[in-house]
Symmetry: C2
Subunit: 408 residues, 2 copies
């Protein structure tokens, strides 16, 4: 019989969010009367706004007409959408042939791991979005489990002590470094100086940055960069992953993109862009043509207004959550230029705090330990939710008294 | 600087269909007056029929309403769609929790290769859909290139001599065997006896069949099985990949599924289903909710009628192409229960025949060699096209005189 892939056997426990969903289901089964509110998974809740939704509807409608029907398109995406992203999102800082349309950032991260393979050292921010680590394990790049993390992965702590920005001297040489800003889960946003240092470190180390900008549209401070390509030198060392999920409410629609600059090369001189093209044409078949029709109108001026409006709504939620936590004297960061709030419970185990908040408030959160060892005494609150639910959750949280060790 | 992944460096030339598109573009540039017709890529051309398209439109419309909006769903797909596939397509022969909804068969094949990894012997029918081989190369399972194929892949010839059904004794032990029926490219459909022998061989060898049933809805002969699960024993040795692309015209919409039976286990006893679930939740985020809304109505009785009507249309095209080829005394198979016709040009190189047909008829086809060494003197004609184009292509083909070596 067939052998199990050792890389699959190497992966720990369940993927974080299905695990949370399971615990929520168990709690609901035991407490059928409970009205559980989720500030856990970063899942959009508000309807897609009219101009963008009309684009999706029209995309679906025209498939029933001889003139409007389309089958397989280019795996790299509609030329018009690639051009529009290059122009509107990057103001010409990237070229359309460097933009590859996808069915979302998570899926593209999986394909990027296939692109670079098992032989490259990997580093992540700690805490970080679990797919960077779990996907690296699946491809065989993570090494063996070593207690709190994988031996082949460098975890770069992002803590209150370093203002949630890692010590860049820890980036491995000739490797990959996943960097997310605005950060999931901490909500921290790297400033221009920090990103300058990041690019300089990557160039010095000969490493490639996988820059996850999925929350860029939540940035309101005009001094903060929305793309790594605002930084000189990034075109020779950074790939940027992005998505329509959080700005346009496309989490279910599935549309994202990845930028691979033509200047990005391997040690041997070949262009990474050409290999990425090969990956996308071989094991991917393009994002849905309906989703792409929606993406096109989302980048029109009316669509961009709707994106701003939708992000503003969730940022309004974030403000409420931050206030509620601060009134409880719980230290937190994020939520001003990002939809996540990262709250600290010194000396506590995050799964225990998760359980306590669920038990006392019937509010689902995300335990920080799910994002890496440095998340141990943190809880991530997501600002994605209906306003009434967020208000109700904040009211319940206001009664929360969680014992913490303030000497931690 | 970062090293290039040796598995990527190991892959040969371009992916077949982009390569054909390139040659077509070059021909068009050199002959701007030519009215080129494609019988090449298997890309659907006819509009989505009204009932199914209304399902897509409604799926898009309700995303703008508070009641109808949905964000991330389960990565495995809508429960209702999983149930409907289990019931309508498999008449209860598979369970809903064994059905995983995807953005298409090609993408799922890539993820299956990640599931099984680099350490498993791989076998393919020769000729076969290029993704089985190219994807295996990307994951590092193919070994080194060895002249006409990869050293680590067993190519099982499917030729006129064996009626396009391989010698099953060549399936490796404890490995993977990709089997496609109705076959792409040969158009051959395995009968019940052949599939019984296939399952028996897989069980004897301890190997897993990846059964690609993407063209099953083109089967018109009621004696031919549409699913591997019609065969006793398949639940312990076969994974089935399928798609809405060709039956419902969803090539651009992106919707498919994979069945991983709960009885399928590794040598060590763990269930493959659980690992597949882990892969899908880790590096995939579900098919588009709009596409899934379309899939749901496609499986209603009105939708199934439309699927039959659409497949009948393309089978009508196939009949015309077959007739045209037979009048030219060109031997061909397929096209009766499949949308592909596999035409033989004894003694000729298929890329040369491809170029000759393009030059003389302005018709794009697919050279057999692109599907494997045994495809060398064959051309695949695809029945996907507008009727008027297919009629015009057949008229042009009727003037074709291609020199072949009838002693081959």
């Amino acid at each position: 019989m067939i052998k199990r892939n050792p890389s699959i056997a190497n992966i720990k426990a369940g993927y974080l969010f299905p695990e949370i969903a399971k615990r929520r289901r168990e709690y609901a089964a035991a407490h059928p009367e409970a009205n559980i509110i989720s500030l856990g998974v970063g899942n959009t809740t508000e309807p897609i706004l009219p101009h963008i939704d009309a684009g999706l509807v029209n995309g679906a409608k025209r498939l029933s007409t001889a003139e409007g029907y389309s089958g397989y398109g280019d795996e790299q995406g509609l030329t018009g959408l690639r051009e529009k992203i290059a122009e509107v999102i990057y103001q010409g800082k990237v070229k359309s042939e460097e933009v590859f349309i996808s069915d979302g950032a998570k899926c593209d991260i999986g394909r990027l791991q296939l692109l670079f393979g098992a032989g490259i050292p990997v580093a992540v921010q700690d805490p970080s979005y679990p797919v960077y680590v779990d996907g690296s394990v699946l491809i065989g790049a993570a090494g063996a489990w070593a207690g709190t993390g994988y031996g082949g992965i460098s975890y770069l702590p992002c803590t209150a002590e370093n203002d949630y920005f890692p010590d860049l001297s820890l980036i491995p040489e000739n490797g990959l470094f996943y960097f997310c800003s605005p950060n999931n889960p901490t909500g921290a946003v790297a400033n221009r100086e920090q990103l300058g240092a990041l690019v300089a470190a990557a160039l010095r180390k000969g490493s490639v940055i996988i820059y996850d900008a999925a929350y860029a549209e939540y940035i309101r401070d005009p001094a903060l960069p929305k793309s790594i390509y605002e930084i000189a030198g990034a075109r020779t060392c950074a790939i940027e992953v992005n998505s329509f999920s959080k700005p346009a409410g496309f989490t279910g629609v599935r549309l994202g993109w990845t930028v691979v600059p033509l200047e990005l090369s391997y040690a041997s001189g070949e262009k990474v862009n050409a290999d990425w093209n090969r990956i996308c044409t071989t094991i991917f078949n393009g994002a849905s043509n309906i989703a792409q029709a929606g993406g096109l109108v989302a980048l029109e001026s009316e669509g961009l207004k709707e994106i701003r409006e939708l992000c503003d709504f969730y940022l309004g939620n974030a403000k409420l959550i931050r206030q509620a936590l601060r009134e409880l004297d719980i230290t937190c960061v994020g939520g001003d230029n990002s939809p996540y709030i990262w709250a600290r419970f010194p000396g506590r185990d995050s799964w225990e705090v998760f359980a306590e908040i669920l038990e006392k408030c019937q509010v689902v959160t995300t335990p920080g330990a799910g994002f890496g060892p440095a998340g141990q005494s943190f809880i991530r609150f997501s600002a994605f939710g209906h306003r009434t639910d967020v208000e109700e959750a904040c009211k319940r949280l206001s009664k929360l008294r969680i014992t913490t060790d303030h000497t931690d």
